[in-house]
Amino acid sequence: MSGLSKIVKNVASVFIVPGLIFGAYVVAHGHLTPGGGFQGGTIIATTLALLLVAFGEKSFRKAIGKNALAMLESLALFGFIGIAFLGLQSSFFNNFLSNSGSLFGQSVQFGVNEGNINSAGVIPLMNFMVGIEVASGLTIIVIAMYSGWGERK
């Protein structure tokens, strides 16, 4: 399996960068616009699935290691629950960064506004973690269903 025809490969390589950027955009603006970690992560995973189908399994695995994906998933989840742990000063899952003035800490008044990306406290961080987790997790599922997850013979 060395991938599909040259046309498909070229089209896929045209799509890959905008796809990843769009996914990252959706993840990063989860607290301002419709979207968030799950949606953006799914977009990234879809782009990676396109890559897998177009270029075939071998070249895909050369570019993105299996272990790296699994590690990334675990670490992202660890980051997610770690952020939740950091709120333990008041309670688990407390949004300790919002309205604090530090990172993502600018406060927002009630009402319609233009949107400020430097707001919402831990929400963008959690979105980021969930985005990585969903992207790597769904890619693992796609690879496992496409060609198995075990050692290759």
């Binding site: 419709p34 968030g36 799950f38 319609v112 269903m145």
Partner: protein
């Protein structure tokens, strides 16, 4: 007229249940489950709708501040639906993997031929 979304949700649930009860193909059973899932998601999302409402997002929303809270649709069911969609995805991924493995083991996706446990 007032009821169409709820009715649609119940009908989707019914269609999915029909597939679960009467279909024998593993893939069709998985599809039935996904249809039930969609029905339940539609039901949840429909519960939060307000007539002529807008999405509960304040970024450049087409509404005045005083009107906002009364015009926006209820946000909680949307959050619940997001959760339930991801769970549905996880269930169908696992179920399809099991179906693939069963097909490999038994050489058939027919539930009547898969009876290793019903000697």
């Amino acid at each position: 007229m007032e009821l169409i979304p709820f009715l649609g949700a119940a009908l989707l649930f019914g269609i999915g249940l029909f597939a679960l009860v009467f279909k024998r193909n593993l893939i069709k059973i998985a599809m039935g489950l996904s249809i039930i899932d969609s029905g339940v998601n539609l039901f949840l999302i429909a519960l939060g709708y307000r007539s002529n409402g807008i999405a509960p997002i304040f970024t450049t929303a087409p509404v005045s501040n005083a009107q906002a809270a009364a015009t926006m649709v209820l946000p909680a069911p949307q959050a619940l639906t997001l959760t339930s969609i991801v769970i549905g995805l996880a269930v169908s991924a696992l179920m399809l993997s099991l179906a693939v493995l069963l097909f490999k083991h038994y050489g058939s996706a027919d539930a009547r031929k898969i009876r290793g446990l019903r000697e």
